[in-house]
């Protein structure tokens, strides 16, 4: 009997564990180690953040779902990996620390035959002074929508601002990224439009000044170096598409910005041209930069091999080309295909947890040497697809032998659908529905724009909003393993 241990019960880890449990049946064991007791459909946190959904609508308890799937569940966080075992045993193991109320702080080790690291991002608020609280958590100066709890807090703060505007006080909204090396611009993009929609609905839009602040060198970069998409019969740059959306809604933008410090009601920034400035705000939602969750790795002798297993940003090394050199030399083929660790063949990383070979956008820095460029997004669809491919590979290795052919899921051959809602309401809501194919541009295959413009398109309308809604219910349904869940694509 083989044991697969999956670290992380988010989009990628949940996909890996549930498919592996289904394919392997009861003859092998699937274990999930994750600190959260609830699964969260993170994209819908946006609606929680504007008070249009409750935390309960975007989360559910993991324990009964894992029981139903025959998965062993530890509510704990992984601390370290010993891929070579220890002095008296060759069996690899992970060290975990429980987070549930009954066993909080207890440490245990779990041996494994196969390991998947799907621990997602550490929300690195402390990278920007004042964005974090100094203890790794979000500070009190801004809000976030990265977790369901953060989003609930954000919606309360938004409510206070709406009340202030109703009482006749103008409010300044600042939404975007809180550091020069952030990703996930799409989430902030969606949030600013949802806020704008809610302010209109509340009849206070004219009392609000709204501004976008981000590390993108142009609006619409989205961490993918921008994209050319089909809109209304034209092939246009996402720059024009995004600028039009902002201008239509009277939202100013400040781009190429590294937020260097946040205080109560004020932040400082540095721009790509080296200039610095300050922005005041009453409400700010700034996405923090992401890093790996800080897992350590040790060899058989107990020596620290963290730098061998993980990249400096804390994400796990996989089968990517980490020596691609400068921007001009980057190729689609630098991106990983199997997500297998090059040194330990029974170890994989899925979702945000794998170390990308390099960023996708053009690298930029200010004359002062401050890097200001988006890091690559690894959104829900790629995370799910990668999680499933990894599950497939491991199941084959278990059932057919260690040399089984691995399944592949390169982000340079994979699309992503992004539906950025701009307000909720069956007949009044709209959303920018965008698909990009492939996520990582391939200029050898598509020399002009790097992407297939037949399948890279965007439009705004009610249809996108309906799709976003359906996606919410579909993915919650699928993640709960309700009947027919395997038929719903990632």
């Amino acid at each position: 009997m083989a044991r697969l241990v999956v670290l992380g019960g988010g989009v990628a880890g949940h996909t890996t564990a549930t498919f592996a449990a289904k394919w392997l049946g009861s003859s092998h064991e699937v274990v999930v180690v994750t600190p959260n007791s609830k699964w969260n459909w993170i994209p819908s946190n946006i609606w929680v953040g504007v008070g249009q959904m409750t935390k309960e609508e975007v989360t559910f308890d993991l324990a009964p779902v894992y029981k139903k799937a025959g998965i062993t569940y530890h509510q704990a966080k992984a601390v370290s990996i010993n891929p070579e075992g220890k002095a008296d045993s060759d069996k690899p193991f992970v060290t975990i620390e429980y987070t549930d109320a009954d066993r909080v702080g207890q440490v245990e080790t779990i041996e494994y035959d196969y390991l998947v690291n799907a621990t997602g991002p550490k929300l690195n608020f402390d990278a920007t002074p004042g964005l974090g609280d100094g203890n790794g958590q979000m500070g009190e100066n801004t809000v976030s929508v990265c977790t369901a709890d953060h989003a609930v807090h954000a919606s309360h703060e938004l409510e206070k601002c709406i009340e202030a505007m109703k009482a006749g006080n103008r409010q300044k909204f600042l939404i975007g990224t809180g550091h020069g090396m952030c990703t996930c611009q799409g989430a902030a993009f969606e949030y600013i439009f949802n806020i704008e929609h809610e302010l209109n609905k509340a009849g206070v839009r004219d009392m609000a000044d709204m501004k976008w602040i981000s590390n993108e060198s142009f609006l619409g970069d989205f961490g993918m170096g921008g994209l050319h998409m089909k809109v209304g019969g034209y092939v246009v740059s996402s720059k024009l598409f995004a600028e039009s959306l902002y201008a239509e809604r009277d939202i100013e933008w400040l781009i190429g910005a590294h937020v260097s410090k946040v205080e109560k009601g004020k932040l400082a920034y540095e721009l790509l041209d080296g200039s610095t400035g300050e922005e005041e705000f009453d409400f700010a939602m700034l996405i923090p930069p992401f890093a790996g969750v800080g897992l350590k790795a040790y060899d058989k002798a107990g020596e620290d091999i963290t730098s061998k297993v993980f990249a400096p940003n804390g994400f796990m090394k996989v089968d990517a080309n980490y020596n691609a050199g400068s921007y001009e030399n980057w190729k689609a083929s630098d991106w990983p295909r199997t997500y297998q660790n090059p040194d330990y063949k029974n170890m994989f990383a899925a979702g945000i947890a794998f170390a990308p070979p390099h960023i996708i956008s053009k690298p930029m820095s200010s004359p002062n040497g401050t890097p200001i460029n988006p890091t690559p997004p690894r959104t829900g669809m790629p995370s799910g697809i990668i999680g499933k491919a990894v599950a497939h590979s491991i199941c084959d290795m278990i059932t057919k032998g260690e040399d089984a052919k691995l399944h592949e899921a390169s982000m340079a051959e994979m699309g992503a659908a992004c539906v950025a809602s701009a307000g909720k309401g069956v007949f009044s809501g709209t959303a920018a529905a965008m698909t990009v194919y492939p996520v990582v541009p391939d200029f050898e295959k598509y020399p002009s724009t790097g992407r297939d413009t037949e399948y890279t398109f965007g439009e705004i309308g009610l249809a996108g909003h309906w799709i976003k809604h359906i996606l919410h219910f579909m993915f919650m349904y699928k993640a709960k393993l309700n009947p027919g869940w395997t038929l719903i694509p990632e």
Binding site: G232, L240, E243, S244, Y246, A247, E248, D250, E252, W253, M381, I385, K388, A409, E413, M414, G415, A416, A417, F427, S428, T430, A433, T435, Y437, Y455, F457, E459, I460, G461, L462, A463, G464, W466, I467, P489, E490
Partner: protein, 53 residues
Amino acid sequence: MKKEEMNFQKHEQFTLTMMPGIFAKKMRTCIIWQAIRFAIINIKMLVVVSKSH
């Protein structure tokens, strides 16, 4: 001044972009048109999904 053109003068940044006119805006919430778009976008997204697996 036409309503849809008002934002052009609100900020210098806005002058170099495009603004939707009344017709384009109406089509965004026109149920019949959006039902058609819904079908087309879904088909396209399904193709992207199938190409990605």
